[in-house]
Amino acid sequence: MNEEQTVIDIRDLSVTFHRGRKPVKAVNGVSLSVEAGEVVALLGESGSGKSVTMRSLLRLHPKGTDVTGSMTVSGRDVMGLSTRELGQLRGATVSMVFQEPRLALDPVYTIGQQIEETIMRHEKVSRQAASERALALFQKVRIPSPERRLKNYPHEMSGGMLQRSMIAMALACNPKVLLADEPTTALDATVQIQILLLIRELQKEYGLSVIFVTHDIGVAAEVADRIAVMYAGRIVEEGRVGDIIRDPKHPYTKGLLGARVELAHGRDRLVTIPGSPPDLAAMPPGCAFAPRCGQASDICLRDVPPLKPIGETGNIACIQYA
C-alpha cells in the first residue's frame, strides 16, 4: 500500500441549510485531506460544523441543503455518485460510529441480526457466513461471551458494550474509512479509554483512515496523528497533534488550550476567551474570531484570512501568519 495515498480529499466545502428565516452556512470553505492509515481529529466547540463536515462525506444532509465544493473518497467523486453507488459507499467503503449508538441501532432486532444484515446488504454471502463473521467481529472488539451477546437487543447492553458493537458493525465490510463522531463523549472515563485504545488498535490493524470528531483535546491527543481546529464553520488551524498541543499558533487555538483547567495549578482563576462564537446566520464579514480576538486589527474585520501553509506540516488561517 502506498503510504502517501490520499484517501479523503475535501476541497472548499460549503454547506448551507435553509430551514428557518435566514440561511445557515454551517460549513464555510473547508479543505481537508486524510492519507491512508491516518487519523485526523476534527476539534471544535458545539456548532462549529464538525458533524456537518463529516456527514457531507456520505451526503447525509436533508433535501434542499446547498453543498458546494468537491469531495473524493478513495478516488471516487462523492458529489457525482448515483443513489446506488452512494449506498455502496455508505457502510462498505466508509462507515460511521456515532456518539449515541442507541439512536443508530434498531431496538427491535438483536445486535447479531443487525450486523448480519449489514454484511448481507453489501456482499453476496449466506446468513451462515455472515453470522460467523459477526461472531469474529464481536471477538475482535473484545465483547465478553460474544455468542450470548450477539443475541442481545440494544437495550440489554451498557453504553460501552453498545459502542463496541457499533465498532464491530462499522468494521463488518472491511471499510477503508471510519468516520467517528464523538464516539466516547457519552461514556465514563474508564470505558472511554478502553474504546479509544480499541479504535487506535483496529485502525492500525486495518490501515483505516479516520476522521475523529471531538471537542476534547485530551481525546484528540490520545488517538490522532493530526488535528484540524474548526471555528464557526471554518478550519482555522491544522497540523501534527504534537505541534498543535505544544505550540498552538492561531489565537483561538491558543485560547482553547490556555483555558484548560490542568494549567491552572496554583492559580485561582482560569484564563478564558471572552465572548461566545458568532451566529452562523449573521456571520461577521472578516475573520469570524475577530470579535473575541485580542490581536484583531482593521484588516481582520474586513477580510477572511485564508488557510495558508506554515512550516513543513501545518496550516493556519490568521493574518498574523499570512
Binding site: A189, L256, V261, V271
Partner: protein, 357 residues
C-alpha cells in the same frame, strides 16, 4: 415553649450556630434503594442499591467534589441532600442539627439549592429570566418589587446585564447564558450550600472556563459551600478542596485534593485517575487501567464491591466488605489494604502483633 434564656440571647443565623469547625452538612448512614419495575410479582422483589450506606461531611466554606462512574449514586446522594427524595435510612445533620428533627425541614430547604446539567429543562419556558429568578423569593413572601430588584442584582453578578437580559425567555439565551441564569436562580434564596450536579458538563470548554471562574467569585463573595459533582477529573481538581470517590453506591475514598490526586489509597480511584486522557501524544495510554463495565447495582458483588475489577483483589476481598478506614487525618479509604489485620497481604499488621514482634 420558650424559656427566658432562649428569647434573650440573639439567635445566630442558621449554619453559623455550630461554629466554624462544625461541618455544614453531615450525612450519616444514608441508604436509598429504588424498586425495580416489574419485579416483586411472582418473583423476588429487586432493588437498585443506588446509595447503600454513605457517610461524609461537607465542611463550612469548602468545595467537596464527588466523582465516580455513571450510576454510582452521585445524583441520588445530591437529591437526598436536597430532600427531593427521602432516605430509606440515615440522617442528614445541618450544622449539627438533625434535618426534620431539631431543624424543621422548611428551614433547611432554603439553605440548600441545586444546579443541574440540563440548563434548558430547569427553566420554565414561559417565564422571562427575571421572573424565573424572582419566583422562589416571591413564593417565600418577598414583595414583587424587591424580588425583581434582587433578580437584577443577581443577573449583574453572573455577568448578564439586566437591561439586555432581564426580559428574555430561556430560548433566547445560549447554553452558557442559561446556566448563568440557573446559578443566579439558585442564589436567590441566599442558600448556604449549593449543589452543582454536572452543572458545567454540557458547556463548551471556553464557556465552561468562564462559568467556573464565576462560581469561584460567587463562592468567595457570598460565603458559599459547594458540593461539586462532575465526571471531569481535571475540573474537580481545579475546583475542589476535598474529593469523594464513589463506587456502586458506596464511598470508596474521601480526602483532600492532594491526598486523592497524589497519594490515593484506593485501587479504584487510582484506575479512575489513570483513565484520564494524556495530553502528551508521546506518552499515550498503552493499556486501559480498568477492563469491563461497572457491575449491576441491583446485584452488587459481595465483600468489596470493586473486587471483580480490582488488580489488587485477594480471596478476602470477596468475603469482607471494607469499612471506610482512616488512613490519615486527611484521608479515608474503603479498601482492605488500609485495614490493619484485614487478612489482605498488603494490609498493615495490627497494633497488637507489632508489639509482640
Amino acid at each position: 415553649m420558650r424559656t427566658v434564656a432562649e428569647t434573650t440571647i440573639p439567635e445566630l443565623p442558621l449554619g453559623e450556630r455550630g461554629g466554624p469547625a462544625q461541618p455544614l452538612i453531615s450525612a450519616r448512614g444514608l441508604i436509598k434503594h429504588f424498586p425495580v419495575k416489574g419485579s416483586g410479582f411472582l418473583q423476588p422483589k429487586k432493588v437498585v442499591r443506588a446509595v447503600d450506606g454513605v457517610d461524609f461531611d461537607i465542611l463550612k466554606g469548602e468545595t467537596l467534589g464527588v466523582v465516580g462512574e455513571s450510576g454510582c449514586g452521585k445524583s441520588t446522594t445530591a437529591r437526598l441532600l436536597m430532600q427531593l427524595i427521602i432516605p430509606d435510612q440515615g440522617d442528614i445533620l445541618f450544622d449539627g442539627e438533625t434535618v426534620g428533627g431539631a431543624l424543621p425541614l422548611a428551614q433547611y430547604r432554603r439553605q440548600v439549592q441545586m444546579v443541574f446539567q440540563d440548563s434548558y429543562a430547569s427553566l420554565n419556558p414561559r417565564l422571562t429570566i427575571e421572573e424565573s429568578i424572582a419566583f422562589a423569593p416571591r413564593v417565600h413572601g418577598v414583595p414583587q418589587a424587591k424580588a425583581i430588584a434582587r433578580a437584577h442584582d443577581l443577573l449583574h453578578r453572573v455577568g448578564l446585564e439586566p437591561v439586555r437580559f432581564a426580559g428574555r425567555y430561556p430560548h433566547e439565551l445560549s447554553g452558557g447564558q442559561r446556566q448563568r441564569v440557573n446559578i443566579a436562580r439558585a442564589l436567590a434564596l441566599e442558600p448556604r450550600l449549593v449543589i452543582l450536579d454536572e452543572a458545567v458538563s454540557a458547556l463548551d470548554k471556553s464557556v465552561e472556563a468562564q462559568v467556573l471562574n464565576l462560581l469561584l467569585d460567587l463562592k468567595r463573595d457570598f460565603g458559599l459551600t459547594y458540593l461539586f459533582i462532575s465526571h471531569d477529573l481535571n475540573v474537580v481538581r481545579f475546583m475542589c478542596d476535598r474529593v469523594m470517590v464513589m463506587y456502586l453506591g458506596k464511598v470508596a475514598e474521601v480526602g483532600t485534593r492532594e491526598a486523592i490526586y497524589e497519594n490515593t489509597k484506593h485501587p479504584y480511584s487510582a484506575a479512575l485517575l489513570a483513565s484520564m486522557p494524556k495530553m502528551d501524544p508521546a506518552e499515550r495510554t498503552e493499556e486501559p487501567p480498568l477492563s469491563g463495565d461497572p457491575p449491576n447495582p441491583i446485584d452488587p458483588p459481595s465483600g468489596c464491591r470493586f473486587h471483580t475489577r480490582c488488580s489488587m483483589a485477594e480471596g478476602v476481598c470477596s468475603a469482607t466488605p471494607p469499612p471506610l478506614a482512616v488512613v490519615s487525618s486527611e484521608q479515608r479509604a474503603a479498601c482492605l489494604m488500609s485495614v490493619p489485620g484485614s487478612g489482605h497481604s498488603h494490609a498493615p499488621k495490627p497494633a497488637a502483633e507489632l508489639m509482640e514482634a
